[in-house]
Symmetry: C2
């Protein structure tokens, strides 16, 4: 079995384990209602999130020194709030909106899938989020990770090689990267993981909503292809 | 209350949370019996562990580049096995002996104390052990840490400032270190933590056995002084 050497399973988190978009659509609407602020919150979320990839790429290319995802989302918020009539938000309100990211919920299959996998494997995050945010999101969602690792530990974002290599080395697997597997809903992430000797598990998610077309199918012969995290657990004998 | 700002509690682990000595005395005796190897295992353990502080200090002073605790204990084993008639151990047996460290058990109060604290605070290790070992020890002991951080994340050992500052920064508390507390059974560790703005909690342990005299009382006015980890939980309102 191609995954029989696996001891440590890393997980992409945003999209793969947590449903950030549905959670934030709800949390932003609730926040707006509570504060009496009317706005196109779904449009704001789309514009806010659209800052993600360009910022990651600027760090990966070396155009900008590493800055973490919390800082990125605050910077991006300030860039786009004017377009949504939200430039009256106070600094305290901006912090409250920013920290809604810490209350995003797991997909319905995540806790069961991870709990089953944790009985046999060591489970570790490998996210582009900040270390503090990932710790908070795992605690909020009662996700049974054994440890948290993120881009912040490598001071660069996925898919830069250092992200994967730092995680493999911190888990003591430098000489045997085949003891590690990455689980993700993004083909590019698995492609990078495999290039460093890791095993790979793919599952499709509609993280951008029901119309999402990207990453709905495996684009390579990943060792595991499953419907969700319970499916990954089943494929891994848990 | 001097600890009312605390949000994140860091924990020293060897001695403070896990009873490494009693565990290893038992594990080494069991290993010897199973392998048919007679030796002064308690004497070996004392000599083995005695390599710890000199190795840490060599890294802190810059005399040696960082190497993790797994590597240190393997190196030290090779230095002392001859004194105990254990130089016939094969490389595989040395690895088995080394990995007995991953099976050390928590003190009897640890799981209850940490579980109560986890209901209100974010709990993070801050150990001189390697990242992989601490992840394994936490999983073995079912210790409800929310994240693992160790000297390996800072590439230097406690009490070097970078250990504490890296942990504070990764938890997003650079501007407010008073939101962090260190819990430890070693006064020197708390002294360093306080110098970087962290709150402090002390508890005495007999990690070196019933005759231990060091660190049986607080040597400063630590914010919390408790009998064990359940006592820390009580003092923190959990």
């Amino acid at each position: 079995m191609p995954t029989s050497d696996v001891k440590v399973i890393f997980f992409d988190v945003f999209g793969t384990v947590v449903d950030w978009r549905s959670s934030l659509l709800r949390l932003l609407a609730e926040y707006g209602a509570k504060q009496g602020i009317e706005a196109d919150w779904p449009g704001f979320l789309t514009a806010w999130k659209a800052g993600y990839r360009p910022a990651m790429d600027a760090v990966i290319s070396g155009a900008r020194p590493y800055f973490n995802l919390d800082e990125m989302y605050l910077e991006r918020m300030n860039q786009v709030i004017g377009d949504f009539g939200l430039d009256g938000l106070s600094e305290a309100q901006k912090q409250e909106v920013l920290h809604l990211w810490l209350k995003i919920d797991p997909w319905p299959d995540a806790v069961e899938g991870l709990t089953r996998l944790a009985s046999k494997y060591t489970l570790v995050t490998l996210s582009n989020g900040s270390f503090a945010w990932l710790t908070a999101i795992a605690k909020h969602g009662k996700l049974p990770f054994d440890a948290v690792l993120t881009a912040e530990n490598a001071q660069v974002y996925k898919p830069h090689p250092r992200c994967y290599l730092t995680a493999i080395e911190l888990m003591g697997m430098k000489a045997t990267p085949e003891n590690c597997m990455l689980t993700a809903c993004h083909n590019y992430d698995l492609d990078a993981a495999r290039s460093h000797g890791m095993k790979t598990a793919f599952l499709p998610r509609k993280e951008y909503g029901p119309d999402q077309e990207a990453d709905q199918a495996p684009e390579s012969d990943w060792e595991v292809v499953a419907r969700d995290l319970i499916g990954v657990a089943e494929a891994m004998g848990c």
